[in-house]
Subunit: 210 residues, 2 copies
C-alpha cells in the first residue's frame, strides 16, 4: 500500500466507523418503532438503547424525522432490489409479472402486518417524506415496465404503451400492497390469492391484439 | 278513510315522527363529524345541537357507534344507488364501465376530500362496522358484474368469469376510491385521469379472445 493510499485509508477510517454508527442508530430506531411505537420513540430512547448520548445521535441525524427518512429509504431500497431481481430474472415475461405481483404482496405483508405500531411511521413517511415514496413508486413502475418491454420484444404482449401498462398494473396492486390498507385489512389470508388473481386479470390486458 | 285505517294512521303517526327524529339525529351527527370531528363529537353535542336531551337521543340510538353506523349506511346507500343507475343506464357496456369508474372516483373525492375530519369516522367504520363496508363492496361488485354480463351478452366482452372480472376491476379502483388513500393523496387533481386510464386498461382485459 502506498503512503498516499495509507493516508487515504486512515482518512476513511472515521467514515467507516461513522457509517457503522449510522447503521446502528437506524437499526435501533427501527426496532424501537416496531416494539415501542413510532410516536412513543424519542431520540433519547434511541440513544439510551445504544448507550450513547442524545447529542451523539444528533451528530449523525439532525432530527427524528431524518432517522425516519433513513429507515423508510432502507426498507424501500430492499423492496426495489427484490423487485429488480424478479424483473431481470429468468422465466417468461408473464411468469415474471406473476412473480412481481406475488413479491410485492408478500413483502408488504412481511413488513407491515402485525406491525400496527408501524402505522404512524408509514403515515409520517407518506406525508413528510413523500419524495422518497414517490421515487419508490417510480422504481417499481420501472421494474414492471422492464418486464412488459421484454414480453413485447418476445411478441407475447401487445405493443401498447409499456409505461402506461406498468403504471396501471402497479396501481392495481395497491389493493394488496399499500401498507395502510394491508394494516387495516381484516382478511390478510386472502391477499396472496388476490395478488395471483389480479396478475391473471392484468395479463389478459396485455394479450396481443387480434 | 275507514275507522280501521284511521286507527292505523294514528298508530303509525309516532313512527313517522320517530323516523323524522332519527333522520335529524343522523343529519346533525354527520354535520358535527364533518365540522367538529368524529372523535370530538359526543352524543351530548348532538343532543345540544338538536335542543334535546342526550337521553332522548339514546331513545333512538343506543350508542354513538349506532349513529355512526347509520351515517355510514346512508352514505354507502347513496353510492350504491348512483352505481346502479350507471350500471342499468343507457349506453354501451364499455361506456357504462367507463362511467362507473368515473362515478366511483368522483363520489369518493366529493365525500371525503377536504374532509380530513371524516378520517376517524371512516377508520371506525372500517374496523367497527366492517359488515356494512363488506356489503357495500359486494354491491358495487354486483354493479360491475351487471355491466360485464351485458357486454358479454352483446358479444363485446370475452366470455370470462363475470364475477371475477367485476371483482378485479373494483379492486383496481381502490387506488382512487379508498377513502383513506384519497384522504392521504397529495395529488387529487390526477385522480380523474387515473380512473379513466384504469378503465381503459381493464377494458383491454375484457376484449374477446382471438
Amino acid at each position: 500500500m502506498s503512503v498516499h493510499a495509507q493516508a487515504q485509508a486512515q482518512a476513511q477510517a472515521p467514515t467507516a466507523a461513522a457509517q457503522a454508527t449510522r447503521a446502528a442508530i437506524i437499526d435501533t430506531a427501527e426496532r424501537l418503532y416496531r416494539t415501542l411505537g413510532y410516536q412513543k420513540t424519542a431520540v433519547a430512547d434511541i440513544a439510551r438503547a445504544l448507550r450513547m448520548s442524545p447529542a451523539n445521535v444528533y451528530r449523525f441525524f439532525p432530527s427524528k424525522a431524518a432517522i425516519t427518512q433513513a429507515i423508510a429509504a432502507r426498507i424501500l431500497d430492499g423492496l426495489e432490489a427484490a423487485a429488480w431481481a424478479v424483473a431481470r430474472g429468468p422465466g417468461s415475461a408473464p411468469d415474471r409479472l406473476r412473480a412481481l405481483f406475488r413479491l410485492l404482496q408478500e413483502q408488504t405483508l412481511a413488513l407491515f402486518f402485525d406491525q400496527r405500531r408501524m402505522h404512524d411511521m408509514v403515515a409520517a413517511a407518506l406525508t413528510e417524506h413523500w419524495g422518497i415514496v414517490a421515487a419508490h413508486i417510480g422504481e417499481i413502475d420501472a421494474a414492471f415496465r422492464h418486464i412488459v418491454a421484454d414480453g413485447q420484444a418476445a411478441g407475447v404482449f401487445a405493443a401498447i404503451d409499456a409505461d402506461e401498462a406498468a403504471r396501471m398494473m402497479h396501481g392495481a396492486c395497491v389493493l394488496f400492497t399499500h401498507p395502510i390498507l394491508v394494516q387495516e385489512c381484516q382478511d390478510t389470508k386472502d391477499l396472496p390469492q388476490m395478488a395471483a388473481r389480479m396478475a391473471e386479470f392484468c395479463l389478459r390486458a396485455l394479450r396481443p391484439d387480434c
